[in-house]
């Protein structure tokens, strides 16, 4: 019951955001982006035996994840500091 009450609050917040954004059309992938990835896959397949694509992609993905997490932290912190009495 206690956890359900917390989950209902989360559902209320997310439901409000969902109601707002649901007025917008569903986002579809850009055809040029899909074509670019498909073409890139062909080149990656050609050099995969002597260039460690997996390592490069994994390092890049880790870097992106870290930077996005850091940026998200800064946004949350910025909003948190806007609360009166918190510096």
């Amino acid at each position: 019951m206690i956890l359900n009450a917390l989950l209902l609050i989360v559902h209320g917040l997310l439901g409000f955001i969902a109601a707002l954004v649901s007025t917008q059309p569903v986002v579809l992938p850009d055809t040029n982006m899909v074509a670019a990835v498909s073409t890139a896959n062909g080149y990656i397949a050609a050099v995969k035996d002597f260039i460690p694509n997996g390592t490069i992609l994994a390092a890049t993905a880790f870097l992106l994840f870290f930077e996005l997490a850091y940026a998200g932290y800064k946004v949350v912190r910025w909003g948190y500091q806007k609360i009166p009495g918190i510096t």
Binding site: M1, I2, L3, N4, L7, L8, V10, H11, L14, G15, I17, A18, V21, S22, Q24, P25, V26, V27, L28, P29, D30, M33, V34, V37, S38, T39, A40, N41, G42, Y43, I44, A45, A46, V47, K48, D49, F50, I51, P52, N53, G54, T55, I56, L57, A59, F62, L63, F66, Y70, Y73
Partner: protein, 392 residues
């Protein structure tokens, strides 16, 4: 004269047609007379399946006998023209609405002498019975459910509840074990052991079983387990006075011989929302009984009441998340992440640089492995330098 010729020709045509039709019908009838009759099978229902009885050789009628017990009384005898078909008949109407074992068999109407006995293996004179070995079938009615028993007459466990692969929501587990004993000699107990597969401990219970001979029976009891998790139910049949095991999983053989079943207690009621559905993910949030003899069940139920999430609320939150992820602005990010996740060497190569296996194996693949190490090292150095200057 012309009209008379036409009449004779028409008469000859009709006669020939009748003769031809009769010949075809005779071949069809002979073929069917030689065919084996098909008996119905039912499985856990109340309606009979396709029952198709063909004529015995030399007979145009058959008798259908429906009796509850060949040793006591003959239920009814009916004569009918063959071939005879029956389907979709409610067995409670066709036989009786009381539990028991029923036999259906047929014999040629021209030679049957009557009397309360049975056919083939059931006692009728062989001359009165059909030549085939499967000229009778058996139905059983147990607790209102009709079925066709199998021919396995070994002492064995027939059914286990909780069934293999099932999940229960409570640590108060209702255990039902169906069994069959070929002889009551020495038989008095059906027992089971429940093994916790997560922590490898066992608890055992034994139930004095009714001595049912030549039939199926079920023993039922309730066992309270210590916690949720993955369990194995191991059933056995024994003579408790001598300790002789009449059946266990280690002695099982043949079809329909069950000895154990793996089941879970609240493994994961939220597949798709939280974690996996594997038994290893089981957690102890099952409810139990709250009694004087099981006070821990009261605390267990209180904790479950307070902290056990409602699956429907989790589903609503998941739906909110799906909506947000498919609409702007978050949708722009998630849709492109989905596209980029397809990035990899899955397509056919645009070109081929080296195809010789020795060169590939001894030169380029070690080179790629070494290069991967260098890249990870450089990335680690760069990441360390980057993190060092982050100002939180």
């Amino acid at each position: 004269m012309g009209g008379s010729d036409d009449s004779r020709a028409l008469f000859a045509f009709v006669l020939g047609a009748i003769f031809t039709f009769s010949a075809i019908f005779s071949v069809y009838a002979i073929a069917h007379a030689a065919a084996t009759q098909t008996f119905a099978t039912v499985s856990g229902g109340t309606s009979i399946g396709a029952l198709s009885l063909q004529c015995p050789p030399g007979n145009t009628d058959i008798s259908i006998v429906r009796i509850k017990d060949p040793a006591t009384s003959e239920g009814s005898v009916g004569f009918t023209a063959c071939p005879y078909s029956l389907s979709g008949q409610n067995l409670d109407t066709y036989f009786s609405a009381t539990d028991g074992t029923y036999y259906v068999f047929v014999y040629g109407a021209q030679t049957h002498g009557g009397g309360v006995s049975d056919c083939d293996g059931l006692g009728y004179a062989a001359a009165d019975c059909l030549a085939t070995a499967d000229n009778y079938t058996v139905f059983t009615r147990t607790s209102g459910v009709w079925s066709t028993p199998d021919s396995n007459t070994n002492t064995r466990i027939i059914s286990l509840d909780p069934a293999d692969g099932s999940t229960t929501a409570s640590t108060a587990v209702s255990v039902n074990i169906g069994y069959y004993v070929a002889s009551t000699t020495g038989f008095d107990t059906v027992g089971f052991t429940i093994v916790n597969l997560d922590q490898n401990y066992a608890q055992e219970a034994r139930v004095t079983a009714p001595a049912v001979y030549d039939g199926d029976a079920v023993v039922s009891t309730t066992t309270i387990l210590r916690s949720g998790g993955a369990y194995q139910l191991q059933a056995f049949i024994l003579n408790s006075s001598t300790g002789a095991v009449m059946f266990s999983d280690s002695t099982a053989s043949g079809a329909n011989n069950l000895g154990n079943a793996n089941f879970s207690v609240v493994s994961n009621p939220f597949p798709g929302y939280i974690g996996t559905t594997s038994p290893e993910a089981a957690y102890s949030l099952a409810t139990s009984t709250c009694t004087v003899f099981n006070p821990s069940g009261c605390f267990q139920n209180a904790i479950v009441w307070a902290f056990y999430p409602n699956p429907s609320i989790l589903q609503l939150i998941a739906q909110d998340g799906d909506t947000i992820k498919t609409r702007p602005p978050a949708g722009w990010l998630f849709v492109n992440i989905a596209v980029l996740q397809n990035l990899g060497a899955t397509s056919s190569a645009q070109f081929a640089l080296v195809e010789d296996w020795p060169i590939m194996h001894y030169i380029f693949q070690p080179f790629a492995t070494a290069l991967a190490g260098v890249i990870w090292f450089l990335f680690a150095v760069w990441f360390f330098m980057h993190v060092r200057h982050i100002n939180l």
